[in-house]
Symmetry: C2
Subunit: 288 residues, 2 copies
């Protein structure tokens, strides 16, 4: 097992952030830093040391899958309102891992071909294979979030999707995918400031979309849709975690910690050689 350095975590992130029975999104303070007993400077230092652990776990996960028998993979699902920090998590948490071990999928508005299939069709195709850490930047949850708020499907179809998601996630978990679903939770005030910064800096204009302000006007409808999605699809096989994200440093650290805890649970081992090591040494020596 890889030594854990995040001594400033006073509790498992997975425990304090998890959506369980009775969960109310409106009770979560986006400014809080639950389970972590450190400030921004400490958080940044811990993020840095965690990167090395994550990189080593990932290499072991990958190696174990090459050994033939292990089928473990990890899937990090990221959902959030605009500007909540998904991109920063990808850059600063996932970015510390060998790109060869990452399978990143960003889900945009579905294409015509995708719309001609069930909403899980395009998701299935982007799942991580054994040994990989998959990252979904948005996901099938869009189909019960924007899908519900903007009425992109009728109520009966939206209703069908919650059950379909639970079944789908159970199946892929049974096949070996450890699923970690994260909602990065910011306040509308924080979002307002972040969008304004994008407007004030010419090098950030490309990140701004006039539609962002329209979506912002539907904030409470989105929170309702999240509340329903979170409580109806947080299962033992695929739990939801709500990560307060007004402090970017905390959100990144917490997602990293959730990944580390999941990998610690898998505890991937270097595989045993399937060849005769001494015989191979001799064969190789003969060529030197």
């Amino acid at each position: 097992m890889i030594a854990k350095s995040q001594a400033r975590w006073t509790d498992d992130a997975a425990r304090v952030l998890r959506v369980t029975k009775g969960f109310q999104l409106s009770d979560v303070d986006p400014d809080a830093t639950p389970g972590y007993d450190g400030d921004k400077a400490a958080g940044k230092a811990d993020l840095k040391s965690g990167l090395e652990q994550l990189a080593e776990y990932q290499e072991r996960l990958y190696a174990a899958s090459r050994g033939g028998t292990a089928k473990d993979a990890v899937l990090l699902v990221l959902q959030a309102m605009d500007s909540a920090g998904k991109g920063g998590v990808v850059r600063h948490v996932v970015g510390g891992v060998d790109p060869q071990g990452i399978q990143l999928a960003a889900f945009k508005a579905p294409t015509e071909e995708e719309l001609a299939h069930d909403f899980l069709w395009r998701v299935e195709k982007r799942l991580p294979g054994a040994g990989l850490i998959g990252v979904f930047d948005r996901s099938h949850y869009e189909d019960v979030l924007i899908g519900r708020v903007r009425k992109l499907a009728d109520a009966q179809e939206i209703e069908r999707r919650y059950g379909a998601i639970v079944d789908f996630e159970r199946r892929i978990a049974d096949r070996g995918i450890r699923i970690i679903k994260v909602m990065l939770h910011i306040s509308p005030e924080e979002q307002g400031e972040r969008l304004m910064e994008r407007l004030e800096r010419p090098d950030k204009h490309w990140k701004y979309n006039p539609g962002d302000v329209d979506e912002r006007a539907r904030w409470s409808a989105y929170m309702d849709a999240y509340q329903t999605a979170l409580t109806r699809t947080s299962t033992d096989e695929a739990p939801w975690y709500v990560v307060p994200a007004n402090h970017k440093w905390y959100a990144r650290l917490a997602v990293q910690e959730l990944l580390l805890e999941a990998l610690e649970g898998i505890d991937p081992q270097w595989p045993v050689a399937e060849f005769d090591v001494e015989a191979e040494k001799k064969r190789l020596k003969a060529t030197l």
Copy 2:
């Protein structure tokens, strides 16, 4: 333009490493560090500062493509004998860039479905879209390297492929992909040591394959196949670079420098906003 910090490069890496008329692979010393006037410590420091430049260039490249008009992308093709350091380049050079800006494709032995198509079929599907840096870990060149050495196709078909590759690469370059093809060049002695290290360390056993020793016995046939491929397919649109790779630090630094020079040539700019910035500020303010 982003300031260039690699003052220890005495010449453009693209100039000193490029395969041009009269090139002989056997003239390249795998121990050399052409164009760079620094030692290992300096090289590691320059690699680190180059990471930030590369990350900024990549973000600009991506932003420019979102602005609507720019179609630029970069494609780094990595070819090498086993253990020459492709993985290290991906980890230490490409790994410094935001994963959202990278499209990595590792080409293994072709599947039955792939074999039922032209050899470029699977390659086309993995090309980077505008704004991305694509990285090929092995590529369509396997089809004229191992394909030739192991006689996986007849001589006429191999012959056809050189021309097909030149045409294919010209087309995708015309569409906006800046192609950088790199052969990492190690000596057979260095490979022997690296393979032995994999055998000596249990945490490296998973990287070793008994077939590696068999391929090693075909070293000179591989060098002949490289010589032919390099000279027949190094074009203005898609030049080959041979990077001496016995020193890992040099190989990584040189590939990074080739990427930086290519991006400097593209010189991607932050796109101009397609919306009325002041009007958007007002709309947003009304929601605060």
